[in-house]
Symmetry: C2
Subunit: 148 residues, 2 copies
């Protein structure tokens, strides 16, 4: 049964549906390890930018501070990150990724790549590159003033 053409004509609807499917597929894979998307996002932030205090993770990833605490809890329990108090400011908790966390992240990125390849399979390599460029430009525009 087909979806309403009135909706499909809105490119943002199609875009949103694809995004939802992509998230669901990756989420499903992460669940087999007891992880969710936020766990991967936190690991990626730590791997890319080095240690963060939890507040920084919250604002970088746009995740609520109270949820950061819970995500870090499970990552610590799994040995993927370490928590230690900032000696200079003992309110702050610095979080860092462990070697085990880096290797875990590598596996997760591989899974995410597989999901992406499955989703983008209808496009050939040069189309994929073109799509990627356009998506990034649109994405950069989201935070620009006057876009809504």
């Amino acid at each position: 049964m087909d979806l309403p053409p009135s909706l499909l004509r809105l490119d943002t609807y199609v875009l949103s549906k694809i995004g939802k499917t992509a998230r669901a597929r990756l989420s499903e894979r992460l669940a087999t390890r007891g992880l969710r998307l936020w766990h991967m996002a936190v690991l990626a932030a730590l791997a890319d930018f080095g240690p963060h205090i939890q507040r920084e993770l919250a604002s970088r990833l746009d995740l609520h501070p109270s949820d950061v605490a819970k995500v870090i809890d499970t990552l610590v329990a799994g040995g993927a990150v370490e928590r230690r108090q900032d000696p200079a400011d003992r309110r702050r908790v610095r979080v860092d990724i462990t070697p085990a966390g880096r290797s875990l992240l590598g596996e997760l990125e591989h899974e995410a790549g597989t999901v992406r390849d499955g989703i983008l399979a209808p496009l050939n390599p040069s189309e994929r590159a073109e799509l990627s460029r356009m998506l990034h430009r649109v994405f950069d525009g989201l935070h620009a003033p006057g876009s809504h």
Copy 2:
């Protein structure tokens, strides 16, 4: 503060973020009328394909039957759709859009178009057409076998 490049390299991540933003922006506009995205989706299905029984709406839109009932409730209360029992099978409830519903849908589509234009503003018309074509191909591929 930047997002992790490890995530941005996954085009599906960017895609998902854009979709989420688009949904949030439209959702915000619909909320001023006391509506949500599902209300618009139901109106679009009725306008495009004619009357449905609720079960058909559920399977077409991939919305749970129990939620269809609630969505229809508020649309009926607003005079946008009509419910009437199917005389041939009194278990079934046929739902149809009213003239008021059609005019409401027209306004909602206009709002959705504005949101889309804001999101896709970084692209010129031919780029937008190219993006649209690629997104539709990817979307069609989602339901094909072997894509995951």
